[in-house]
């Protein structure tokens, strides 16, 4: 990676030239300095949590509705010692992962298949749009009727949302393929399979990743909202129960854990994306190195 950045900069008319020619002790803007950004995060979080804690402990905030950070932390620790992780987190994550994985694979496969069948695609398109514009939460009671109150109905809730997001983004990626690239493939006598794997798939990859990332968030939404309607275990069940008895600190503790899990998975997606489609992030990488 290093050698690449240098060779590009050596070239007399290379675009990377300007960054290389910067003065030897550059003062980078704050936005480009990771330590400054992290410090900013701490300050914002500190002010927010500080005010909340202050308001809660001095009685300026109604504890029944708002609780306060230290109490929430206590509830979180207590929850972790109890069944929050072992039952609820496990249950929700299992449902999301099963639903997401199945639906994502299906969404990608169906998009690629339909891209090869323009007629079928035109026929199915309005049905897809209709189903996708349906507020999916409205399906939860139906899914309970069909699949029971167990894991499977929550898997299906995740899947019903993930599928369309992944499908739509994959389709958009396939359609965004450069017409010049397709002309080149034709002129070079590429077979259908070669055109697919060397021209279409790589071009669709960035868009597929966006679909997967959004699909996971939507899958989480589907499962949790399904659990809130009815279920045995899971974050949604816990939220519903805590809200019912005004256990505000418990409620916030669960919310906090949901945010942490989403953030960790989003970070994993980012890393995977950077590895798989390195050519897209290349400029960014060589700039931060140079």
């Amino acid at each position: 990676m290093n050698t690449r950045a240098v060779t590009a900069a050596e070239l007399e008319d290379a675009p990377a030239m300007e960054t290389k020619a910067a003065d030897p002790t550059p003062r980078r803007p704050l936005a480009n300095r990771i330590e400054a950004v992290v410090a900013g995060w701490m300050i914002v979080a500190g002010i927010f949590l500080g005010l909340w804690e202050w308001g809660g402990t001095t009685g300026r905030l109604n504890l029944l509705f708002f609780s306060h950070p230290s109490a929430i932390w206590g509830a979180l620790v207590e929850g972790v010692r109890g069944t929050l992780i072992t039952m609820d987190a496990r249950y929700t994550l299992l449902a999301v992962l099963l639903g997401f994985t199945g639906a994502a694979l299906a969404g990608i496969a169906v998009a690629f298949a339909l891209s090869q069948m323009p007629y079928l695609r035109k026929v199915l398109n309005p049905f897809f749009t209709a189903f996708n514009s349906l507020p999916r939460v409205a399906l939860a009671p139906l899914f309970v009727m069909w699949f029971g109150i167990g894991l499977f109905s929550h898997v299906m809730m995740a899947a019903s949302l993930t599928f369309f997001v992944v499908f739509a983004n994959t389709m958009a990626g396939i359609e965004s393929v450069d017409q010049d690239h397709l002309l080149l493939a034709r002129l070079q006598g590429a077979t259908r399979w070669q055109t697919f794997k060397w021209f279409i798939v790589p071009s669709a990859l960035p868009s597929i990743f966006i679909g997967l990332e959004l699909g996971f968030i939507f899958g989480m939404l589907g499962t949790v909202s399904g659990e809130m309607i009815v279920g045995e275990h899971g974050f949604g069940v816990r939220l519903q129960r805590d809200a019912g008895v005004f256990n505000t600190k418990g409620y916030f503790a669960t919310l906090f854990l949901l945010v942490v899990i989403s953030a960790v998975l989003s970070a994993i997606f980012q890393i995977a994306k950077r590895r798989l489609i390195r050519w897209q992030t290349l400029h960014l990488v060589s700039r931060s190195e140079g």
């Binding site: 070239l11 690239h181 034709r186 002129l187 070079q188 050519w279 290349l282």
Partner: protein, 260 residues
């Protein structure tokens, strides 16, 4: 590699009008053309005169409305491995390195990896990109990207080369250096070249023969052999009286068509 013959026999082309109900438009009047092997022919003329149409017919991308096109005695076919097509836009795949973009046509033909990489490396060195094999297109300048495209076209050693304003998107200096490099490569390999351009200077400097197309509907209104010795040094040639004489002669014909 040596060039092959190309023959257009009473070829005519009409395109449907974009407005419904209007009659279709003629873009090319009946045209006869013959290209002998190892010949470098430039087609010049005003925009929309049908010169690119001729190129696309030879590539097999479009079928003439009337008449026949023969490439080595056979109808042209898209994806013919013996025909190279170079566009103004480089169409490099951003997810492949310079080397990967040049091996692409060889990969498509199923050439073993070791051999295809060796051939790609060699030709990239010849176009002056030996140090940029692993660079991605986004890291290369316009001129370098077009050099990769030239290498990608030549790596399969096509007997026929179709070029559609391949250097038009480059700045003057880069263009001259690429033209010179290309002429040198061609003088070694001698394939049949049909070169479409709107740049008369480029046409004279590079070609053996210049065909001037009329304004739409196009027809060939003049033909000029370019009797300049090879190997050519393009930068020097531009200053010679011989070049200026040819330029003036062709421009006298072309001017009327461009302003028609």
């Amino acid at each position: 590699m040596s060039g092959k013959s190309i023959e257009l026999d009473r070829v005519e082309q009409y395109f449907d009008s974009p407005h419904a109900g209007e009659p279709r438009k003629q873009v090319l009047q009946p045209t006869n053309l013959k290209f002998e092997g190892e010949e470098f022919v430039a087609l010049v003329g005003p925009s929309g005169c049908g010169k690119t149409t001729v190129l696309n017919m030879v590539a097999g991308l479009i079928r003439p409305t009337k008449g026949t096109v023969m490439l080595n005695g056979r109808a042209p076919r898209v994806g013919d491995t013996d025909v190279g097509y170079l566009l103004a836009r480089d169409a490099l795949l951003p997810w492949r390195t310079a080397l990967g973009n040049v091996t692409l046509p060889l990969d498509i033909r199923g050439v073993p990896k070791a051999e295809s990489e060796a051939r790609a490396r060699k030709i990239l060195k010849e176009v002056g990109l030996g140090d940029f094999l692993d660079a991605y297109p986004s890291q290369l300048s316009h001129g370098m990207r077009q050099r990769v495209a030239v290498a990608r076209t030549l790596v399969v050693e096509p007997h026929t080369l179709l070029m559609d304003e391949p250097f038009s998107a480059l700045d003057a200096q880069t263009r001259l250096s690429l033209q010179q490099q290309f002429v040198e490569l061609w003088e070694r390999v001698r394939s049949t070249v049909i070169f479409v351009t709107h740049d008369l200077t480029e046409a004279i400097l590079m070609a053996d023969r210049v065909l001037v197309f009329s304004a739409r509907p196009g027809r060939i209104c003049a033909e000029f052999p370019i009797e300049l010795e090879r190997p050519r040094s393009l930068a020097e040639l531009q200053g010679t009286d011989k070049f200026h004489d040819i330029f003036r002669k062709i421009w006298n014909v072309l001017r009327d068509e461009v302003h028609a």
